[in-house]
Symmetry: C2
């Protein structure tokens, strides 16, 4: 509503929203180093891809992203319906992501409902859990 | 490994695991009052049922459970693969739930991967987010 200096006035919710944006930007860039910088590298991080079971621990999670990034040629992610909640040093984001992926010989479009949990360590918000579930494409909200 | 007095030695992880069990027991009992007692009644609670979009706020979430409880005649929930993480006053559980439901004229079996986030208020852990996504039935882990 008013002009402001982001650095001065950034709330914890702003900071969590910002790192959530970085997560999807890292996905779009297919840059594994950038994706690595978003996550906590501990053995309790969790990742659920749409329709898949839980991956537990940084090694499993990193391997999955490396495989995804290797297989996808190009990807675009449109994020909407972003809802942020912060409770002390834990913050999470619920959002909808429409993911358009190009592979070497095919093309895929998917809409997911995601929840991403971040923990603050030394002033930095790190992703510790990503859980995405499939939604119909186009999403129900677009046709209701 | 050793016998112990649960009340004396209960860790925050034990407490979160326990309320997560109560959540699924409330679902099985189809007792709306019990389900109400598990949740925080605030306008930022979130609920994603398998394949559905986000419900936001206690009124929406309560209405959904009331409708589910009205439609289901009997339900059994088998929870497995439980993983608990606590960071100060926020704890979350990832688990797999196999849900067998009987309706007035049909029968349904579903397996979901869920994440449930709890926040501690005045010593009580309250559910603030439930996100469940569909998995194949039988789950992949059973046939791999």
């Amino acid at each position: 509503m008013s002009t402001r200096t982001v650095r001065e006035k950034q709330t914890p919710e702003d900071a969590v929203r910002s790192v959530n944006n970085r997560f999807y930007a890292a996905f779009e860039s297919l840059d594994l180093r950038e994706m690595e910088s978003i996550w906590s590298h501990d053995d309790r991080v969790q990742c659920v891809q749409p329709g898949w079971e839980l991956l537990l621990g940084w090694d499993e999670v990193r391997d999955r992203w490396a495989r995804i990034f290797k297989n996808i040629k190009r990807v675009r992610v449109a994020v909407s319906g972003v809802f942020v909640r912060v409770e002390e040093n834990v913050g999470w984001v619920s959002c909808t992501a429409r993911i358009t992926s190009a592979f070497s010989d095919s093309f895929d479009e998917a809409t997911v409902q995601a929840i991403n949990i971040f923990v603050q360590r030394d002033g930095q918000w790190l992703l510790v859990a990503h859980h995405a579930s499939p939604l119909p494409t186009p999403p129900r909200s677009a046709v209701q």
